[in-house]
Amino acid sequence: MRFRLLLATVLIALASPTWAVQPDEILDDPVLESRARDISAGLRCLVCRNESIDESNADLARDMRLLVRERLVEGDSDTEVMSFIVERYGEYVLLRPTTDGVNIILWVAAPVLFLIAMLSAGLYLRQRGSAPEPTKGGLSAEEEKRLKELLKD
């Protein structure tokens, strides 16, 4: 009987993946559970393409979800849970990359690019504003006429 139940479970597990967070994983304490959900959303499922363990169906993701909850129940803070997981699985699990070392380049890229772009745009606009209105040129009279015809609203 025990064996048949086991077999049935295995067969079901093979036929259909377990579905992200399972009802039996959910912690009784809603505050703890919501912390667990937040933490899981930031951890990458190692065997999936691009999913957090919170979204993933993989068995490994389930193990990691259970691990996160286990640590939380034992009283770890969010950062402690995170560093515990990172220690075990490596930096790769963090969906939000750290800011240490060369990663700083990634984090400052957006503001720096934006400043450079705004600065060059500003310089260009100032120069544009003071440039003299150029005389019409480059087009022949006929082309000028045809341009008018095309641009007629």
């Binding site: 079901i12 036929a15 259909s16 993946p17 377990t18 579905w19 992200a20 967070v21 399972q22 009802p23 039996d24 959910i26 930031g42 990458r44 393409r49 691009n50 999913e51 957090s52 979204e55 490596g90 930096e91 790769y92 699990v93 963090l94 969906l95 939000r96 990359p97 750290t98 070392g101 060369v102 990663n103 990634l106 890229a109 957006a110 690019l113 934006f114 772009a117 705004m118 745009a121 260009y124 606009l125 100032r126 544009r128 504003g129 440039a131 003299p132 209105e133 150029p134 480059g138 087009l139 006929e142 082309e143 045809r146 341009l147 015809e149 095309l150 641009l151 007629k152 609203d153």
Partner: protein
């Protein structure tokens, strides 16, 4: 036989494409008219040959010709007809042929509808376009031949990936390709103009419809892809910052920037070199996206190293076209004299800010997408860059964009006065902020996400209304209404697309901020409450589909004792592909989606059921639809039709030097 003919037609088309790349360029350089105009029939022939080749491959799928390797790998006799058709592009080789088909179609369209272009410009555009097509044909023929036969054909195929057997995904790639490839037209125009050494208002007008069309297609493609992810992947996510998604978002942002800066070229003959650069980079990002998706580089560096042939080929195409175009740009850009002068406060400046925000946000996505690769190769750090990073890095740009949009849209050309432009807008801004504050006070929880999203969305929509109303001038309401109906379609396009953006911003915020979830075990016959509804699981049945078996739950949703709807979430299993899928059951309503998926049977006889209330989910797709519709309005504006019709009044075209 038909398969071989299709293969042969593709090779023939490749030869035509090569000739079409060289002959018109020489003709335009030497001023030989017949060498230039020969590009037109060549483009048509090239298109017909590729179309035949594509039809041959489709035929193989329709009749389930299992002597063709591609059909064996991606089809099955039991597969419904529509997925036999979509199966043609549901794989690398076939989708590449579709890509080539669309390239040839755009090239042929430039030949058919480009009659009013100066002969040398048209010849050069067609030549550059054909060069791109030839490169992709070579890629198809030499590395990814879809027509490969099998010596011993099997009795049946291994079926298409079940995730792709869905209407949303079946029609999502063709739209994306139309968008990616549409940007190749803007690129061809840019390179042709650089060779000519001249960019004028007419160039801006010619390049805009192609960019608009590409952008509309990309919008539709991205929206259907996102919608598919929403209902198919089983938890209602709509955007994952997956490299494949980023690959489509980057060119979309560039196309949006380009179609705005092309307005400046058209109306004011300035920002020329910047617009050319955008056109080049826009297509560059399209190619980059193709590279990302097809090389497998980002899924795994190791997979790429094992089979680098395809990736290296696209990288070569990318390097050749970007390198060539940017070199040409560096040489020729200084020649492009800007004409229109404008003050710092003006519509031109506002559009420059629009361009900065769109282009920089696109670059940020690019850096985030490529960073894991760079970190691993150069710094030996294996890391991930996921949604938390992208949300933080990308959102500020969109917030800024939404804040300046209504003001920029109403600033006059050349020289504006901020005080005057803001006069009708202050009230709207105050109202939007007040509504955001009200929402913040009324909602449960104190996340600022939805209030900010609502205020921004409202500001953009009301600003668009104020803008189109201001276009009717002054006078009695009746007269202004009359004038409103006679406004050019471009104005309506602007209004519709901008409103769509506002609605989408609000919807994203509401969906992310207000979604609620419920996961539980339900026995058959048991009821539970969620978000004001009482749901009863009445049965779970096994249902046989055409090429799958389904476990289908039936849930009745009651509100105040009245039956609202019956929902049937499914878990399907495709035995041939050996893959399960989930089919969520969704009750779509204007203010929320009720979203249910069925999980596993539990030990105690119950079933895992996940229920979500997703507020304003439909508004997101509706907003995207409005953006695309706005693009179509703009595209149908009288000016472009007249520009196309102007040819007839001018039978003897003089080739421009």
């Amino acid at each position: 036989m038909i398969i071989e003919l299709g293969h042969f037609a593709l090779i023939l088309a490749f030869a035509v494409a090569l000739a079409q790349t060289v002959i018109p360029l020489v003709g335009a350089h030497k001023g030989w008219r017949d060498w230039m105009v020969v590009a037109n029939p060549m483009a048509t022939v090239q298109f017909l040959l590729v179309a035949f080749s594509y039809a041959a491959l489709t035929y193989a799928f329709l009749v389930s010709d299992f002597s063709v390797k591609l059909v064996v790998d991606n089809s099955h006799t039991l597969k419904p007809l529509i997925y036999k058709i979509s199966g043609v592009w549901g794989n690398h080789e076939g989708s590449l042929l579709l890509w080539v088909l669309i390239l040839a179609l755009f090239g042929a369209s430039a030949a058919w509808f480009g009659g009013n272009l100066p002969a040398s410009l048209q010849a050069r555009v067609l030549a550059v376009q054909s060069g791109i097509t030839a490169a992709f044909m070579a890629f198809t023929i030499f590395t990814s031949n879809p027509f490969t036969r099998l010596e011993f054909p099997p009795f049946d195929g291994t079926d298409l990936n079940p995730l792709l057997q869905d209407p949303g995904l079946a029609f999502h790639p063709p739209f994306l390709y139309l968008g990616y490839v549409g940007l190749s037209m803007a690129f061809s125009f840019a390179v042709a103009a650089l060779i000519e050494g001249r960019v004028d208002a007419a160039w801006g007008r010619w390049v805009r419809p192609w960019t608009l069309a590409a952008w509309v297609f990309l919008t539709i493609g991205i929206a259907t892809g996102s919608w598919w992810a929403y209902y198919e992947l089983g938890w209602g996510g709509f955007w994952f910052w997956d490299p494949v998604e980023n690959a489509s978002l980057m060119p979309w942002l560039f196309a949006a920037a380009l179609l705005h800066s092309a307005i400046v070229v058209e109306k004011r003959e300035t920002l020329k070199s910047w617009t050319i650069l955008l056109a080049i980079l826009g297509f560059g990002f399209s190619l980059m996206g193709t590279f990302i998706v097809r090389s497998g580089l980002l899924t795994s560096v190791h997979a790429f190293a094992m089979d680098p042939e395809r990736g290296v080929f696209i990288l070569m195409i990318l390097a050749a076209f970007m390198g060539g175009a940017l070199t040409l740009f560096a040489l020729r850009a200084p020649v492009l004299e800007a004409k229109g002068v404008f003050a710092t406060v003006s519509r031109e400046s506002a559009l420059v800010i629009n361009n900065v925000l769109l282009a920089v946000s696109s670059f940020v996505i690019f850096i985030g997408t490529m960073w894991p690769l760079v970190a691993e190769m150069l710094f030996d750090r294996v890391l991930s860059v996921g949604p938390p990073f992208f949300n933080m890095a990308f959102t500020p740009f969109m917030v800024a964009l939404a804040m300046v949009l209504p003001i920029g849209a109403m600033l006059p050309w050349k020289r504006g006065n901020l005080t005057r432009t803001m006069r009708p807008l202050w009230g709207l801004a105050a109202f939007s902020v007040a509504m955001g504050a009200l929402t913040w006070a009324l909602q449960t929880g104190n996340s600022p996400l939805v209030p900010i999203g609502l205020a921004l969305g409202l500001w953009v929509v009301l600003g668009s209304l104020a803008d189109i109303w201001s276009r009717t001038g002054r006078g009695a309401i009746g007269n202004r209404m009359k004038r409103l109906s006679r406004l050019p379609r471009a104005d309506w396009g602007k209004f519709t697309a901008h409103s769509g953006l506002g609605i989408s911003i609000f919807a994203v915020a509401a969906l992310v901020g207000w979604e609620t979830e419920d996961i539980r075990v339900v026995q058959i016959g048991e009821s539970f409450d969620k978000g004001g509804y009482t749901l009863t699981l009445t049965s779970v049945d096994r249902v046989q589909g055409p090429n799958y078996v389904s476990t289908m739950g039936t849930l009745e949703a009651y509100r105040d004792g009245r039956l609202i709807t019956t929902l049937q979430p499914e878990k399907r299993f495709y035995p041939i592909a050996g893959m399960p899928t989930t089919e969520a059951a969704i009750d779509y309503k204007i203010h929320r989606d009720l979203y249910i998926t069925l999980g596993d049977p539990q030990d105690n006889g119950g079933w895992a059921v996940r229920t979500y209330i997703k507020p304003f989910a439909n508004w997101l797709w509706f907003g995207c639809f409005l953006m695309a519709l706005g693009g179509i309005f703009s595209l149908s504006d009288r000016r472009y039709r007249i520009a196309a019709g102007a040819e007839r009044t001018r039978p003897n075209a003089v080739p421009a030097e």
